[in-house]
Symmetry: C2
Subunit: 509 residues, 2 copies
C-alpha cells in the first residue's frame, strides 16, 4: 500500500512532466509565433509545479512508507530502484535553493537573447559578459549540488550520471589518436562524388521516404507521429505517445533522411520501455525533471546513432533501399547507383559546424567543447579567451581556420541556455552504439541476415531486450555491462570506423 501512495505521487509528477514536454513539442512544431511569450510563462509554471510536487510533504510521507516497504526486496528490483531513485532525486532538489533556480531561469532568457544578437553579428564580445554570469551560476550550482574531483563533474552528472571529467579524459585519450589515424587515412583516399546530394528533392517525397524508413525500423505510428521542425528532436508523453521530427531541405537530401532515422532510434527506445514502468520513476528523469524512459542522454544517443549510422549508413541498407529512394526522386538520382549513394553519405570532411559534421570528425567537435567547459568550470580559462582557444583547437585538430565567431564559439545554443555538461553524451552515444551493435551482431546471426534482407525485427528485439525495456531501472554503466559484458569501451567504435574508412585496424581491437 505504501508503494501505491508513492506511485500516485510520482505518477502525478510524470503527468506534469509529460504535459511540460507537450508544451515544448507544440512550441517547436505547431505554435503560432504570437504564442512565444505566454508559452514561456506556461513552461515556467509547469516546471515549478513539477518540482513542488516532488518536494511536497505528501511525497515525502509516501517515500518514507515506500522505503520501509522495499527494504526486503533485492537491490535491483524495479520497485526498490524506483524508490531509491526517488529518494536521491528529492535529496538532490532539496539542495538547490529556489532563488538559484530563479536566477538561472532569468539568466537563460537574457543570455539567449544576447547570444542570438552576438551570433548574428559574429561578435563574441557581445555574449562574453553574459557567458561569464552563466558560468558563475553553473559554478554556484555545482557547489550546491556537490562535487569531488572537479566542479565540472557536477554538471556532467546531470546528463550522464557516473561519468566525470577524469573518466572522459581517459576515454578521449584513447579516442582522439584513434580517430585521428582513421581520419588521416580517409583523407588520403580518393573522394567519391557527392554532387547529387544537392539536387532538387521535393519535400513531400522526402517525407514519404522518411516515413517508410521509420516504419521499416519498427517505429509504431499508433503511438507516435512524425512532424516537421527546425532542429529535429524526439520527445515523449509516456511510451504510448512518442513523437519524432525531422526537417526537409529542398536542395540537400541527407538531413531529412538521417535526421528521421536518428530520431526514430530515440523513439524506439521510448516506445519499447517496459509498459509497467509507465508513469513511474523508472520512466521519469526526476533529477532533470524530464519525462523520459531512457536511462541517460548517452544511452539515448546510442540508440539514435545505432539506427542512423550502423544501420542507416551501411552498405546493406542502401543496397536494399536505394531503389525506393530513386523511385522517389527519379530526376535527381537517375544517374546515381546504390554504391555511389552509400559512399557519398559516408564521406569524412573536416568542417566548422558541429551539427553538420560527419561521423568521423564529429567527436573532435565534442572533445573541444568538453575541454573548454571543464576549463571554464575550474577557472583555468577566462571567458574572454574562449574564441582564441576555440580557434586554436580547430586548427590543431581539424586543420581548419575559423573565419568568425559565428562559425566558431557562437555556433551552439547550449551555453546561452545554461546547458553545460551535456556535450559529452553525444560521444558516449557513439561509442556505446558501436559496442552494442558489435555485441548484438555477435550474439545472433539473424541480426546481420535481417539487415541484409530488410528485416529489422531481430536487431530491434535485441535492443529492446538488452536496453530499451529496462527504462531507467539500471544506470547506463550497469546496462552496458549486462548487454555486452564490458564497461564503456572505445575499441569497437574505432574498429567500426576503421572498417568503414578502410584504415588499418586499431591495435586495441
Amino acid at each position: 500500500m505504501s508503494l501505491k501512495d508513492l506511485q500516485d505521487c510520482i505518477g502525478s509528477v510524470n503527468d506534469v512532466l509529460c504535459t511540460l514536454s507537450l508544451l515544448v513539442w507544440d512550441s517547436r512544431t505547431m505554435m503560432p509565433a504570437g504564442g512565444t511569450e505566454t508559452r514561456g510563462a506556461q513552461i515556467a509554471t509547469m516546471t515549478r509545479i513539477a518540482r513542488e510536487l516532488l518536494l511536497s510533504d505528501a511525497t515525502a510521507r509516501a517515500l518514507e512508507g515506500a522505503q520501509a516497504a522495499v527494504t526486503d526486496l533485492s537491490a535491483d528490483s524495479p520497485e526498490r530502484r524506483a524508490v531509491e531513485q526517488t529518494a536521491a532525486a528529492i535529496a538532490f532538489h532539496r539542495r538547490i535553493p529556489a532563488d538559484l533556480l530563479e536566477r538561472k531561469a532569468i539568466q537563460r532568457v537574457i543570455a539567449n537573447a544576447a547570444w542570438i544578437e552576438a551570433r548574428e553579428r559574429s561578435d563574441f564580445s557581445l555574449f562574453e559578459p553574459h557567458l561569464k554570469v552563466t558560468v558563475d551560476l553553473a559554478r554556484e550550482y555545482a557547489d550546491v549540488v556537490g562535487w569531488q574531483a572537479h566542479p565540472y563533474d557536477a554538471m556532467i552528472a546531470l546528463y550522464e550520471p557516473g561519468e566525470t571529467y577524469a573518466s572522459l579524459q581517459s576515454l578521449f585519450g584513447e579516442l582522439r589518436p584513434g580517430l585521428k589515424r582513421i581520419l588521416d587515412t580517409a583523407l588520403e583516399r580518393p573522394r567519391p562524388r557527392t554532387d547529387f546530394l544537392r539536387r532538387d528533392f521535393p519535400e513531400e517525397a522526402q517525407r514519404r521516404v522518411a516515413l517508410s524508413f521509420a516504419k521499416a525500423f519498427g517505429y509504431d505510428f499508433e503511438r507516435g507521429r512524425l512532424d516537421t521542425t527546425v532542429h529535429p528532436f524526439e520527445i515523449s508523453f509516456t511510451r504510448q505517445d512518442v513523437r519524432i521530427t525531422t526537417r526537409y531541405r529542398r536542395n540537400f537530401l541527407p538531413p531529412a533522411l538521417f535526421g528521421a532515422m536518428h530520431e526514430t532510434g530515440h523513439g524506439l527506445y521510448e516506445q519499447n520501455v517496459d509498459p509497467s514502468y509507465t508513469r513511474t520513476a523508472l520512466a521519469t528523469d526526476l533529477i532533470g525533471l524530464y519525462a523520459v524512459g531512457g536511462t541517460s542522454f548517452g544511452a539515448h544517443e546510442s540508440q539514435s546513432r545505432l539506427w542512423e549510422n550502423h544501420v542507416g549508413r551501411s552498405q546493406a541498407f542502401w543496397q536494399l533501399h536505394f531503389p525506393t529512394l530513386r523511385e522517389a526522386f527519379p530526376d535527381a538520382l537517375g544517374d546515381v547507383s546504390a554504391d555511389d549513394f552509400h559512399a557519398a553519405v559516408n564521406v569524412a570532411t573536416p568542417s566548422l559546424i558541429r551539427t553538420e559534421a560527419d561521423e568521423l570528425t564529429y567527436d573532435f567537435h565534442i572533445m573541444l567543447r568538453v575541454d573548454l567547459e571543464a576549463a571554464l568550470m575550474a577557472g583555468d580559462i577566462a571567458v574572454h579567451d574562449i574564441p582564441a582557444e576555440w580557434n586554436r583547437r580547430m586548427k590543431a585538430e581539424l586543420g581548419l581556420d575559423v573565419p568568425g565567431d559565428r562559425e566558431g564559439c557562437l555556433q551552439d545554443i547550449h551555453w546561452s541556455s545554461g546547458m553545460i555538461g551535456s556535450f559529452c553524451t553525444y560521444t558516449i552515444g557513439n561509442i556505446m552504439a558501436a559496442q552494442l551493435f558489435k555485441a548484438a551482431s555477435a550474439s545472433d546471426p539473424g541480426i546481420e541476415a535481417g539487415l541484409t534482407s530488410g528485416d529489422y525485427a531481430p536487431l530491434r528485439n535485441w535492443l529492446t531486450e538488452h536496453v530499451c525495456r529496462h527504462g531507467r531501472r539500471f544506470n547506463r554503466q550497469e546496462l552496458l555491462v549486462q548487454a555486452t559484458g564490458r564497461p564503456l569501451t572505445v575499441a569497437p567504435y574505432l574498429d567500426y570506423l576503421s572498417g568503414k574508412h578502410h584504415a588499418p585496424l586499431s591495435s586495441a581491437a
Copy 2:
C-alpha cells in the same frame, strides 16, 4: 503590491488551464490513438492541480490583501471585478467536496463508455442506469453549490450565469411560437435546389477556401491556426494563441465552410480580448476552470453565430465570394449561381439530428433538451421515460417520427460526460447574435457597406469595442445592455429569420 500577489497566483492558474487546454486540443487534432489512456491521466492531474492552486493558502492570503487594496476602486473597475470574481470562484469551489468531484470524474468515464455502446446499438436501456447515476450526481452537485427556485438553475449557472430555468421559459415562451410561424411559412414556399452541395469537393480546396474566409473576417494567423478534427471547436492558450478547427466532408461542402466561419467567430472573440487581461481572472473562467476570455458560453456563441449566419449566410457574402468558391470547385459548381448557393445554404428542413439542423429549426432541438433536463433535475420525469418524451416532443414540434434512440435521445455526448445545463447557451447565442448585429448595423452605416464590399473591419471593430475587448470584466447581461441598450430580447432574432424566410414580420418587432 497586494494586487500583484493575487495576479501571480491567478497567472499560474491560467498557465495550468491553458496547458490543460493544450492537452485537449492535441488529443483532438494530433495525438496518436495509443495516447488516449495516459492523456486521460494527464488531464485529470492538471485539473486537480488547477483547483488546488486556486484553493491554496497562498491564493487565499493574496486574495485578502487584494480585497483590501480594491475597496476604494469603482465597482466596475477591471481590478475590482477580477478580485471579486476570484473571491466568488474560491467560495464556489470550497463548497464542493473533493469526493464528489472524484465520483463525478469516475462516472464520466463509465457513463461515456456505456453511452457509446448504447448509441451503437440504438438502445437507451443500456444507458439508462448510468444516466440515472449522472442525474443523481448532478442533483447532489446542485444542492452543494446551492440554488433557489429550481435545482436546474445551479447547472445553468455553470454555463450561463444569471439565467435560470424561469428566465429561459420566459424566453422560450416568445421564441417557440415565433419560430413556428416562420417555419410554417418557410415550409410552404417552393424549395430551392440543394443537389450541388453533395458533389465532389476535394479537401485541400475546401481548406484553402476556409482559410481565406477566416482571414477575410480578420482572424489573425500570427496568433492562431486552423486544423482538422472530427467535431470542430475553438480553444485558446491566452489571446496570443487561439486555435480553430474544422472538418472536411468530401461529398458535402457546407460543414467545412460554415464550421470554419463559426469557429472563426469564437476565435475573434478570444483574439480581441484586452491584452492587459492576459493571464488574469478577466481572461479565465475560474468557476468552470477553463482558460477563456469570453464572458459566458452564450456570449461566445453569439460571436460564432453572428459571423457564421449574419455574415456567412447572407446574400451579400455570397454575391461577393461565390466566384472564389466556384474557382475552387469548377466542376462541382459550374452550373450554380451565387443566388442558388445562398438559397441552398439557407433552406429550412425539420430534421432529427441537432448538430445538422438548420438555423430555423435548431432552437427546437435546444428547447426540447432544456425542458427534459429541467424535468430530470426536479424529478418531474423518470430517466426511464426520456425516450418516449423525446419522441413525443419531436413529433409535436417538428412533425418528425424518431426511428430509434440513436437518432433520438442518444445523439448527444453531453449527458454521458456529465454536462447538464449547457444546451441553453446555443439558443442564447442565436438571440444575442441577432440583437448585436442589429445594434451594430444601426450604429454605423459603414458596417453594412463593408459587408457588401468585403471589408469586415467595421463590423469586427464594433464587436471588439462592444463585446470582445471586455473579456470577462462584465457579465453577459451587462455587456448586452451596454452594447444594445436592452437586455436579451427575442424580437431582433425573429425579425432576422422572418426577413430571411419571407415570413410576415412579428408583431413584437
